[in-house]
Amino acid sequence: GAGVSQSPSNKVTEKGKDVELRCDPISGHTALYWYRQRLGQGLEFLIYFQGNSAPDKSGLPSDRFSAERTGESVSTLTIQRTQQEDSAVYLCASSNSGTASSLVYGYTFGSGTRLTVV
């Protein structure tokens, strides 16, 4: 597609359940990023994939969070045993990192998944 697609757009889950959030990056973008944005707050880096390199997981807040990416395509962010503090908008972005375009145009963000843990 033309943009970064995230699904679902909204997710309400019960505390303790697992959730999976999906991101379809722009075709050909080698880099994919996940960020979390709590209500009224800034963007909090979670994880970064670059091609076939080992992902940078330094931003994952706990071992309940994990993410996978197959090649240079879809990524899934999984949150296990969700807690109320996990409620936030989860934003995915992609870029053609390593070429000039990403640093000319920055990231392209998806619309996010709003996660509410009740």
Partner: protein, 113 residues
């Protein structure tokens, strides 16, 4: 460590006023890139501008202008003759090849009619 500071949490102006959003950054890299993003109430983040560290020429694009000063590690953003549609949260970010971007906490701008 890289860090971006946006000291202004919220700003309110009346339509047609000029407004400047401040951004101060920290990095040990000699080459880096700075960005501004806009997040309107709809939630999507919209890329506005990029500057690289070796080009301190200021830029004007319509009602928007950016003042990059490497000596003070600042990359400020000015909206001239603000409009209600400019109401959004504005994020300053710092990035480089092969690294994740570091975002500032954002400045919420409200332009009142």
């Amino acid at each position: 460590a890289q860090k971006v500071t946006q000291a202004q949490t919220e700003i309110s102006v009346v339509e047609k006023e000029d407004v400047t959003l401040d951004c101060v950054y920290e990095t040990r890299d000699t080459t880096y890139y700075l960005f501004w993003y806009k997040q309107p109430p709809s939630g999507e983040l919209v890329f506005l501008i990029r500057r690289n560290s070796f080009d301190e020429q200021n830029e004007i694009s319509g009602r928007y202008s950016w003042n990059f000063q490497k000596s003070t590690s600042s990359f400020n953003f000015t909206i001239t003759a603000s409009q209600v549609v400019d109401s959004a949260v504005y994020f300053c970010a710092l990035g480089n090849y092969g690294q994740n971007f570091v975002f500032g906490p954002g400045t919420r701008l409200s332009v009142l009619p």
